[in-house]
Amino acid sequence: MGVSLTKAAQWTTGGKLEFTSMNETLLREILSFVEELGSRHPQEAEQVLKEPLRWSTTLTASDFKTDYDISDSGVQSHEKDAEGRPLLQLCPPTVNVRSFGQLCKLVHLAADKKLDELRACLEENRDAMVQMFGNGLEKEDNQTDVPRLVKEEEDEVKVKLFHLVQNLDELLIKKLLKEITETVELDCATVNNDVESLKELCRDGEKPALESIRFTSDYEFSNGCRAPLWRQVHGEICYLVVEPCDTETLYITCSNTAVFLNAGIKQEVEESGYERTSDTYKDLLTLLKSRSPHFAEHMNKQKIKAGEFDEMNEKGQEKESYRQREKNVNEKTRKHHVPRKRSAEKKYEPCPRWKNLGLMSPCGKAEEKKPKSSGLEKVQGSGARSRMKAEFSLSSLPGRLSSQKIKTPAGAMELSSESSSESEEEEEQSERRLESNTDLPPEYWQIQKLVKYLKGGDQTATVLTLCAMLDFNLMQETCQLAIRDVGGLEVLINLLDTDEVKCKIGSLKILRKISHNVQIRQAIVDLGGLQSIVKILDSPVKDLKALAAETIASVTRFRRARRTVRQYGGIKKLVSLLHCVPNLASLTAHQQKDVEVARCGALALWSCSKSTKNKEAIRKAGGVPLLGRLLKSPHENMLIPVVGTLQECASEESYRTAIQKEGMIKDLVKNLSSDNEELQMHCANALFKCAADKQTRDLVRNYKGLQPLVSLLAKVNNKQLLAAATGAIWKCSISVENVAEFQKYNVLESLVDLLTDQPEGVLVNVVGALGEFAQIPASKTTIRKCGGIKPLVDLLNGTNQALLVNVTKTVGACATDQDNMAIIDQLDGVRLVWSLLKNPSSDVQSSAAWALCPCIENAKDAGEMVRSLVGGLELIVNLLKSTNKEVLASICAAIAKIAKDKENLAVLTDHGVVPLLAKLTNTTDDMLRRHLAEAVGHCCMWGSNRASFGEAGAVAPLVRYLKSKDHRVHQSTAMALYQLSKDPNNCITMHEKGVVKVEEQEDMPVNHNNRSCICFCLTLKLTKL
């Protein structure tokens, strides 16, 4: 009852027993013990306890019956002890019980409330053992105490009772452990075992259970985990990539609580993708069985083998379970409620530097406590360490799940290159505090002490304390949160408003580091720290300015912070930091500092420029020319933030013009040939965004920027760089001159090579570039010869909409070549393109419809091919109900091509193409008009469609098309009118609407063909009338 209560039971902070199943079991056991004690061991039950058990009860005097003296004030039992005190005494709401016998009776009286009574009793008598038997038995696990007790007190009954209680204690612990071991978990060894066995299965003959299974990382930490340290904090052990035979590749996270699918961690170092995307499974086999039917089947078939496999696992687990049993007890001796487990231990290792310094004073004590109470634990391997009771981890699971999403690796600068950074905002999170009843790390206490000194120290003491604080590993989350939790953040921010330069410097040096933590960033903004930091930008002290800018750079990684900076005039101040002479060969110390300040300013602007309004503010503050000047700096550490800012801002039209006008293209091109890949990437990204403009494209060519871009394609390992470079190539290749230049460097071959095994970010750009190249007939042949058609068609199976738009466009462009079309047809490309009409994105729909046109035009047996696509025509006709003009235009164009085949036209007509087209005729969009007229013209060729168009009122609007300024509209309209005029009623309508007048007034350069068409239709009309 001693050990089990103090250590195995789960207590809340308020000293209450938690309502967990563990505690429930424990209570029931104790209850049955108490109830049985009275009957089984009457002698022991009457033994008077040393101190009464006292608690507040819900029982009232009325609950007591005979054997009790019931008075107004309370209840007393008849039985008294040697000194005449009643064995049970009730003074509502407190009750005193001096023997187990009375306790038993009381419990009996309490009837259905007995569990609650017992719970209250245990909660209020935390040292029940001592109360019952006195201090001599405090260390109840120490057997030598019993003889001593016997000698001293000579009281057999008491000793017997003591043994009884101790037996109960043992029983309880065993029972609890059994429960724990049932919910055994994974650890590194188990996972490794599983993976090894599964690898065996992969090699298993002709029909392996799995294609492959591998770890994402070959590196194994000393604790057996393979996950990066910052993920281990979440209890994750390793990540696996499994290719089953029947389904798509599975990306699996093994954590010490469960196994589940993640969002796709392919490589060792990934920033994202750690979130859970599936249910959790208890182990790897279960997950694989449920995900891969083939695997499950395979495992069932080879039952013997699988049996062995399981047996092997079980053996391992048996071995572990004993250790775990002990471990659990020990674990609990340390922590009553442990939400963190191994990861916590990992995290709370004191910073080695402090260890060396021996700065242990109060914290040293905490450190010593651990080994004392967990002597056994030390002997056990790290495998056992990772095991904990499932229930514990479950209770902490919600917290952990939410923290998974919010975590960015502390310290890893994630200044991303992606263009539209607004989308990748970090979400604001609820606070997560170090839980008060866990073992706090030694750093916590040290930091708490330092913050105390900060609060009560003068300037000198403050500076010394700040320096001491800087010695902590401030990139460690424990330290970051500790500073916040002990109220250090407020003090640090207060220091920013003082006049003491040194204090401000020290404070900023700390803030700069701890603000890598998301929660700290938010806390700083919440506390109004950002305003103070922005104010410091005005300081005459350069070190201060630089530090403030650097801190801003790290704090403004979320939108609210960026807005705050703008609202307090920070952008203007930051821009003014950029004034310096960056490109002098030799700088004085002062100038060097200016350059440093400018660099930090650029860093801050880079970070701030992720908000659109800030981009505008930077431009208004005159930042663009200053950035242009800094762009001439020879130093990479200056160039990276500058180009970073520029490429971020280049999403705005105004910046693109400015970048071109300020002559920055030249410098950007120059830096493409830098040695620094990050710089190259930002330059390429900037060009990617700027090259949408024709003049810029020409400038890039003139500054000989095309070749460096092509040479970047060789850096296949740096995907971000590759994406940026291919993006720039794509946009540059919009100019025909550039395409010709590019072809000198055989860029098509390189691009086609990049069509496989690349991330989508790269693919989109590569395919986009190919699409531009394919506008030139020679390129189409080259693409085919390089084997580019097949990967392109394969990409039609993708899901990325941006990619699909580009792929369909490129496939369409390629399809204009007969030979290419043959290959596409052979690969069933048309069906794939067609099926993309079902895509929810209207961009993809229209792009696919445009691509269909050349496909249908150039396919050998187009009519037959179209008919073979079941439901295809209905799909196309239905798209005429779209509201998107681009989709409508493209669909009309496709219908015009399809309608060339009479049979297909008949089907189209059946699906009601005529009224749908007629409905659209009121449009004013020239693009749509042109293709619509074309479609109408072709659809007239079947049955009574001409009359139907007339009845649907399509003729009059069509006549109006002739007033359009676009001669291509005239051409197709003339065609349509010509066809329609074959129906006499339509001719009348046309005449009424004044076709002749329109034609005569027309002084546009209508080409001869048109004129003749219209003339023809007019003549026709006249003859009929």
Binding site: G358, G457, T460, C467
Partner: protein, 258 residues
Amino acid sequence: MAYNKRDMSLFNASSCHGNGVFTSPVEWRSIESHIVCFFFFLIKSEMSSMNRKIIHTLAESISKQVDHFSKTEVECLIREFNLLLGEPVSTGRTVSGLDKERFRSILHNNFGLTDDMIMDLVFRTFDKDNDSFVSVKEWIEGLSIFLRGTLEEKIKYCFQVYDLNGDHYISREEMFHMLKNSLIRQPTEEDPDEGIKDLVEITLKRMDHDHDGRLSFADFEKAVKDENLLLEAFGTCLPDIMSADAFELRVFQEPAEL
């Protein structure tokens, strides 16, 4: 052994103050006599051309020995010195420089230093010949570091300031002495000095690289170079940038009016 060597170098450094200013004691005498002449002169005639000439020559000789000031700046500083010196005290021998009281008030008014103890220490450091007065030469040499010293010079200067007993070590006790008023004492605590003691320990552990329980100059230098904030670890003994700039602006920009 290495220990002694460092010791020696420190001794050398502190005795000739960085630049090896004094080539011989004779020269020093001559400067002293210059000053004395100059003061006599000052008393007799107000601002004569003669006076200017003397200041000029004095400035010339000093500026050769001081790194961070030009000749004209030295002249300005001499004038400022005279101004601060004001009326020489009563009769008898003319005073040879600023005494402690006066120096303190200069530090306080011009450079915003507040701690009396530190100001005394600064005085002691300025007053190289230990005659309880800061002479014009000591004044200019001191200011050269005070206002424009390089990091190395400032490290040496600060170390001298903090080395209370001049044994070339900053001991635990010295630290405690300098920091004893830097924390609000909590009356509730058993030992009100506990916080300061702890702070001293933390600082000592951080800066004492050779682990001998005291700070040698090498320890101090290394610690400051690692973290510049530790330059004035035990009390502000340098002006902050703003007041230094203000002082320079005032003294150097003003045309000679005397």
